[in-house]
């Protein structure tokens, strides 16, 4: 190469955050390449290619972070910055590693975090490999999270973002610690407001674009229709049972419910009722009062640690049991190599099997796992 600049690929979704990440790195003197993951799972016909399919076209509306409009926005940003931009078709891998799991988890009565899986298998694995193939020194994303290097311990620490409202460290606990040295998160030290201001100052074409909290492969933010369309045949209605044992109604199918849910349960109950348990084997949904949704702790498995912890002794942690959860002081008790027991200092509402629990010490992500069951 003719220059000595460090080369970085920025994962550009088409949104404001990744656009600002790219602009910041360019300003810092990196040679920036944009990389956009394309998840179009349409086409796949024998002839290959993602071709227009009249019947499927209407069902293919996707939110702003993905799909065609996301790719075009990312391209626009890349053109504004004058950087190269490549689109990678990851539809098949998304299907194999994320969507199949998404459906089977719901069918098993659990509530999955597809973004955790995407980060684990696609963004910080496959896309990182693409970046390395293109001789990039780093992969950067627009996640609100900090990556710090501890010189004494020679360790990379993943930490919460400055903007605690936007902090996305919850979604990143499952990536392999070996990839941390190849990552940059330029937005960790900014608030969302500051990022919007930066976007305007950089004159980025996406500065006014609304943010997206939706799951990118679910059209219209309607996971129920998505699941029905995919595995409708396997979904069987069953009984709604009160925690005291009475049958009080009928449920539409296990995947349509999540722990703590109150809406769409039918009305006419004396006191508000919530989903407290989903039993996929018996095909029943158990309802109870608000206090019945509370748990003292949980068992988690599918663990990943970003710090090379010896999982032998009990440690004090902060546990976050879903993205919008206010973390709770807890004790982490190792059970075996791949499961732990978490005991909360205060009972927590709606501990949801399938969701991730992430372990923190102060601002640092220790690791996390997938909630298997709650403990009362």
């Amino acid at each position: 190469m003719t220059n000595n600049k460090k080369r970085v690929m920025v994962a550009m979704s088409g949104g404001v955050d990744s656009a600002v990440a790219a602009a910041l790195l360019q300003k810092d003197g990196y040679e920036v390449i944009g990389g956009t993951m394309c998840f179009s799972t349409a086409g796949g016909s024998a002839s290959g290619g993602s071709l227009f399919d009249e019947e499927a076209a209407d069902n293919r509306k996707r939110p702003s972070c993905c799909g065609i409009s996301g790719i075009e926005d990312a391209r626009k940003t890349a053109n504004t910055l004058g950087i190269k931009h490549y689109v990678f078709s990851f539809g098949t891998v998304l299907e194999d590693k994320v969507i199949k799991n998404f459906c089977s988890e719901y069918l098993a009565g659990r509530t999955p975090n597809p973004c955790v899986k995407c980060n684990q298998f696609l963004k910080f694995n496959l896309l990182l490999r693409k970046a390395r193939e293109l001789s990039c020194d780093y992969l950067a994303t627009g996640h609100y999270v900090k990556l710090c290097y501890n010189r004494l311990k020679h360790k990379y620490l993943l930490k919460k973002a400055k903007d605690s409202q936007k902090d996305q460290s919850y979604f990143l606990y499952a990536i392999k610690k070996e990839v941390l040295p190849y990552l940059i998160f330029p937005l960790g030290k900014y608030t969302k407001e500051e990022v919007r201001r930066l976007a305007r100052n950089f004159n980025l074409p996406v500065s006014d674009k609304p943010g997206s909290q939706e799951i990118c492969f679910i059209p219209n933010d309607d996971y129920r229709s998505f699941i029905s369309g995919r595995i409708g045949k396997e979904i069987v209605p069953g009984a709604l049972i009160h925690i005291d044992g009475r049958v009080i109604g009928k449920h539409q199918g296990i995947p349509f419910y999540t722990i703590g849910q109150r809406r769409a349960l039918g009305g006419g109950y004396a006191a508000p009722l919530y989903v407290v348990k989903i039993d996929a084997k018996k095909n029943v949904i158990v309802l109870g009062g608000q206090k019945d949704t509370c748990a003292q702790g949980l068992i988690a498995d599918n663990l990943n640690f970003l710090m090379g912890l010896p999982l032998k002794k009990i440690i004090a942690i902060g546990a976050k049991i879903r993205y919008n959860h206010r973390e709770v002081k807890s004790r982490l008790i190792p059970i075996n190599k791949d499961s732990v027991r978490i005991e909360f200092s205060l009972p927590q509402r709606a501990v949801t099997p399938g969701q991730s629990v992430v372990f923190y010490q102060k601002d640092t992500v220790l690791g996390g796992g997938i909630i298997r069951e709650s403990i009362n």
Partner: protein
């Protein structure tokens, strides 16, 4: 940074002479070619001259040339046009499994409407066996459409032999010649075809203009309706500047064809030889001799063609993994699968296509970097074990 273009099969630059010929038709000679007044007549004159040029280049009559918006439209117009016109005669179409999507997709669409389509297999060099065509013909067959040369692997199909079979059975014969017009000699009579599609931007003309040849008397139902242009066979205000550009491009190809075939073949063979020697575990796709003079297509084991392509792009070299239209898709090319490559090997393919402005130094620059890129990617590949 160097910028080297080795993707002439995707598109070509407009030749400066073509551009000069077109320019007056945007401003001075701007008339509607269908208008009666002098403005219209001037435009008409330029357009008809282009028609004459193209017709004589193809060995056809001027009235047998219909201008369109490009290769895709030509293929669509011919396939739908014949299917519709002959729907009372039969409902069977024969094509090959390695056609461009602009042929395959109209055929698939017709299948949904009740037509039957036979997709002929090809051998491992990408050639259709004329005997298979013969076997596939039924009483219902109304059209055979086989491409003149494949856009990905460059194999030149035995069109003359297939046409002969078509004629013996009273079936129309069409060929998609988008990759061959301007690149190898073409004569519609020698080819024995009834219809042929072509596109100007593949031979140094502008994008957005093409044509099809349709032999006089061929039954055809127009695709675009709403005007008398092109003798009612393709309504729409004539793209005069584009058509004039197409004509000029054809004229230049006529003059340069012989020389360019020689130059490109030599450069192609040089690239094939050097790549085969410099890079282990690679194989040439397509036929060794029956091959477009400008086409080089290799598969490299253990790695993805897309990764090679992007690495080349970062060095300023433009190449392709397949046809430009599907290169954003990671499904392996249907052409490479049809010639019997495994998914893995098909993923590892790279197409280099030469053209009028290619130089030996371009090949040198490529050869300096390609082996290093392949080596780097292989070292990163989980599939590769160094020998």
């Amino acid at each position: 940074m160097e910028r080297i273009y080795l993707d002439y099969a995707a598109t070509t630059p407009v030749d400066p002479e073509v551009l000069r010929a077109m320019q007056p038709y945007f401003t001075d000679i701007f008339g509607n070619a269908s208008s009666i007044h002098s403005f219209g007549q001037e435009a008409r004159k330029g357009m008809e001259a282009a028609r004459e040029t193209l017709a004589s280049f193809l060995g056809a009559k001027a009235e047998e040339v219909v201008f369109t918006s490009g290769g895709t439209e030509s293929n669509n117009a011919v396939i739908f046009g014949v299917a519709n016109a002959l729907k009372n005669k039969g409902n069977h179409i024969i094509t090959s499994s390695i056609e461009h999507h602009a042929v395959l997709e109209p055929c698939k669409f017709l299948e949904k409407q009740g037509y039957k389509v036979t997709y002929l297999k090809v051998d491992k060099t990408g050639l259709v066996d004329p005997a298979d065509v013969k076997k596939a013909i039924t009483k219902e067959t109304i059209l055979i459409t086989v491409m003149h040369a494949n856009n990905e692997i460059g194999s030149i199909e035995p069109i003359e032999e297939i046409s002969k079979i078509a004629k013996e059975n009273g079936v129309y014969m069409h060929t998609d010649a988008v990759q061959t017009v301007g690149h190898i000699p073409i004569n519609v009579t020698n080819l024995g075809i009834d219809m042929l599609s072509l596109s100007a931007h593949k031979f140094y003309g502008p994008k957005g203009v093409g044509a099809f040849y349709i032999k006089k008397g061929t039954k055809f139902s127009p695709y675009l309706r709403g005007g008398d242009q092109e003798r009612g066979r393709r309504a729409s205000t004539s793209n005069v500047a584009g058509i004039v550009g197409l004509g000029k491009a054809v004229e230049l190809c006529g003059k340069k064809l012989e020389e360019e075939v020689k130059i490109h073949s030599e450069l192609r063979d040089f690239l094939i030889k050097e790549i085969s020697e410099k890079i282990p575990e690679c194989c040439l796709n397509g036929h060794a001799e029956r091959r477009l003079p400008n086409n080089v297509n290799f598969s490299f084991s253990y790695i993805e063609g897309e990764s090679i392509l992007l690495n080349l792009d970062l060095l300023g070299i433009a190449a392709s993994t397949g046809s430009a239209c599907t290169s954003s898709s990671l499904s392996p090319s249907h052409v490479l699968l049809a010639i019997g490559l495994s998914h893995e090997i098909a993923h590892g393919s790279l197409r280099l296509t030469l053209g009028r402005f290619s130089r030996k130094t371009d090949a040198g620059y490529l050869l300096e970097h390609l082996p290093k890129i392949v080596d780097k990617l292989r070292r990163m590949s989980p599939l590769y074990e160094p020998k």
